[in-house]
């Protein structure tokens, strides 16, 4: 009796949920905007929300190469790191204002991505992953040794942005809420740009490439060129993430360039759902949130992170977001 009564209600609930999710998937920019606005409310603290924004953007940038162009890179920490160092060094050592400093960070990362891509693009599969890993290790080593500019292993300190002037108003950048919305605006802009790129003919070429490289080649596309462009763009987004990271934390740790950071991008993208627009963001939020919360009550937080990876691979192979989308389409 009660079961019969509850049944229709449940269906209705499910369909609302389903509709909201579909809406998010289809109206990317509208939903991203709304989500970004309310996101800090659901987070334990604002600085963590900013980390998720920044590393989420990093994962999204990585996913452009991995999920859309179909090439696994283990060297993306180089772009995150050089974005951060580029911005940080411009700001600290040259006294350049923060806004152009961000631009410099992005430029440095993009240029590096072009060079690394140019060298690595002719390898495939796991070898591509390893070439990018090796090249990013060279970047790590160079930055580590260039102590006068980078601070070496002590990290670059003093990226202290206290006040910013926007549209005639002065904002206190040390206030976490201000910091969140300023950085959020950049992330929003980057996502909009990415969304446009994916909807452009170039986005279609990329997907064609991932699905069937031979056919794309047969259709007359310059596959190597498309991959190189994707890699460079991917580096650009990661560079922006790095520059924002530097301003948020007010330091650039050498760990930003470490290969574990490259690994983190891979894990965030796969866990969230590679090749989906929001997947990497969901992955970033999941990993960072779990690490943060679980490490508050046990030092054995890695046990939980490990178990979650295993459970998701076994039961939700398309990642969290990818699996959700797939369910909705059933």
């Amino acid at each position: 009796m009660s079961m019969l009564a509850s049944e229709p209600v449940k269906v209705a609930e499910e369909s609302v949920f389903r509709r909201v999710l579909l809406l998010i998937a289809r109206h990317r920019m509208l939903s991203v905007t709304v989500l970004l606005l309310v996101f800090p409310l659901f987070m334990p603290y604002t600085s963590l929300a900013i980390n998720i924004l920044v590393l989420g953007l990093y994962a999204v940038g990585f996913n452009l190469m991995f999920g859309y162009a179909g090439a696994l890179s283990f060297g993306h920490a180089a772009f995150l790191g050089m974005g951060a160092y580029g911005c940080g060094i411009a700001f600290v050592k040259f006294g350049i204002p923060w806004l152009p400093s961000i631009g410099i960070g992005v430029l440095v990362a993009t240029a590096l991505a072009f060079v690394m891509g140019y060298l690595a693009i002719r390898t495939r599969g796991i070898y591509f992953a390893m070439v990018t890993l090796a090249l990013s290790q060279l970047v790590y080593y160079t930055v580590f040794q260039a102590r006068t500019w980078t601070g070496g292993d002590d990290g670059l300190r003093g990226v202290n942005l206290a006040k910013i002037n926007l549209v005639g108003f002065e904002f206190n950048f040390l206030n976490p809420t201000v910091r969140y919305y300023v950085i959020g605006a950049f992330v929003l802009f980057a996502l909009w740009l990415l969304s446009r790129i994916l909807e452009s003919p170039f986005g279609a070429v990329l997907e064609g490439l991932r699905e069937n490289e031979a056919r794309a080649r047969a259709c007359g596309y310059d596959v190597s060129r498309a991959r190189l462009i994707a890699f460079t763009l991917s580096g650009m987004f990661c560079g922006l993430a790095g520059a924002l990271y530097a301003l948020h934390l007010s330091i650039v740790p050498i760990e930003t360039l470490h290969y574990t950071m490259s690994g983190l991008a891979v894990m965030m993208a796969i866990l969230g759902g590679m090749g989906t627009f929001f997947g990497p963001f969901v992955g970033a939020a999941t990993i960072l949130l779990i690490e943060d919360l679980v490490s508050l009550w046990t030092v054995h937080w890695q046990l939980f992170v490990g178990a979650i990876f295993i459970v998701f691979v076994l039961f939700f192979p398309k990642g969290i977001w990818g699996s959700l989308l797939e369910r909705l389409r059933l």
Binding site: R124, I270, I308, F309
Partner: protein, 289 residues
């Protein structure tokens, strides 16, 4: 000049550790097309199992036999329960799964044996240094070179001269044909995974007299193992051997002339090799896309 020769000799001894470390990874990848990110964790577990067995029995040689067996069985259990459902799926899936698994292994070891690691001395019968004509090298390092050679010969004999080895090799080339011939290929894979992880565990125990054991000891090993297998060509056993020794010598010679570049030198080596020969020294073209 003497110094250079000693350095070459230590390089080869160091290389033999790289060889065993890379071997298991390459074996599993070559046969199963699984990129095992838990390789370093199996290495670490091997170290702990060995130190534990040694503490109980006091016999180094017995521990040496027990470690690959125990770790191999753990590996087989992992293959059966966790990896097997993933065959036929995207190559990223086992990668993420084994990555998660390595976290769990490390944490379980921390909970069981504590955070600080356990000291482990060189076994009594293998202590001391030997004069090799150009300088002194610890006896234990020479033992490592000999043991590596023995493992390689045994593995080669097994793969080339036994009928089971034939099935393994055939399974790597074309699993479908093997299946059609009525052979249960999943049992072959189970065995290969056990073999690969067992060798990783053995390598962990062998490095215990050099660096003792601690929960994080597998982390650098994973990167080194990947460099070795990739430089040699993923899936090529000959490649692992050559690349392992090469990496050892490169690290050793760099330590002599530019010691602070010792770590990065292996990545420079990898970048150069892959840029010249994208499939690695002995890799088949087209493997892994």
């Amino acid at each position: 000049m003497d110094l250079l020769l000693t350095q070459l000799a230590t390089g080869l001894a160091l290389g033999s550790i790289y060889v065993i470390v890379g071997l298991g990874l390459s074996l599993i990848f070559g046969m199963l097309h699984v990129v095992n990110f838990a390789h370093g964790a199996f290495f670490m577990v091997g170290g702990y199992v060995g130190v534990f067995v040694f503490a109980k029995t006091g016999n180094f040689w017995f521990s040496l036999v027990a470690v690959p067996l125990v770790v191999g069985v753990i590996g087989m259990a992992v293959e059966r329960v966790l990896i097997r459902p993933l065959y036929g799926r995207n190559i990223d899936d086992p990668l993420l799964l084994t990555f998660g698994l390595s976290y769990i292994f490390v944490e379980v070891i921390r909970i069981t044996f504590g955070l600080e690691g356990i000291p482990f001395g060189t076994p009594r019968e293998l202590r001391g240094a030997v004069d090799i004509g150009v300088g002194f090298i610890p006896l234990y390092r020479i033992f490592l070179v000999a043991l590596t050679a023995a493992i390689l010969i045994a593995l080669w004999l097994f793969l080339e001269k036994t009928s089971y080895g034939l099935i393994v090799r055939a399974g790597a080339r074309d699993p479908e044909i093997v299946r059609v011939l009525g052979i249960d290929i999943s049992r072959v894979w189970l065995f290969v995974f056990g073999l690969g992880t067992g060798i990783a565990g053995l390598a962990g125990f062998l490095s215990a007299p050099i660096q003792s054991v601690n929960p994080d000891m597998g982390v650098p090993v994973l990167a080194e193992a990947f460099v070795v297998t990739v430089v040699g060509g993923m899936g090529s056993l000959v490649g692992s051997v050559v690349a392992g020794l090469l990496v050892g010598v490169v690290v050793s010679i760099t330590s002599l002339f530019a010691p602070d570049m010792a770590r990065v030198s292996i990545f420079i080596l990898m970048a150069v090799v892959l840029l010249v020969r994208p499939q690695g020294l002995f890799g088949r073209k087209g493997a892994m896309g």
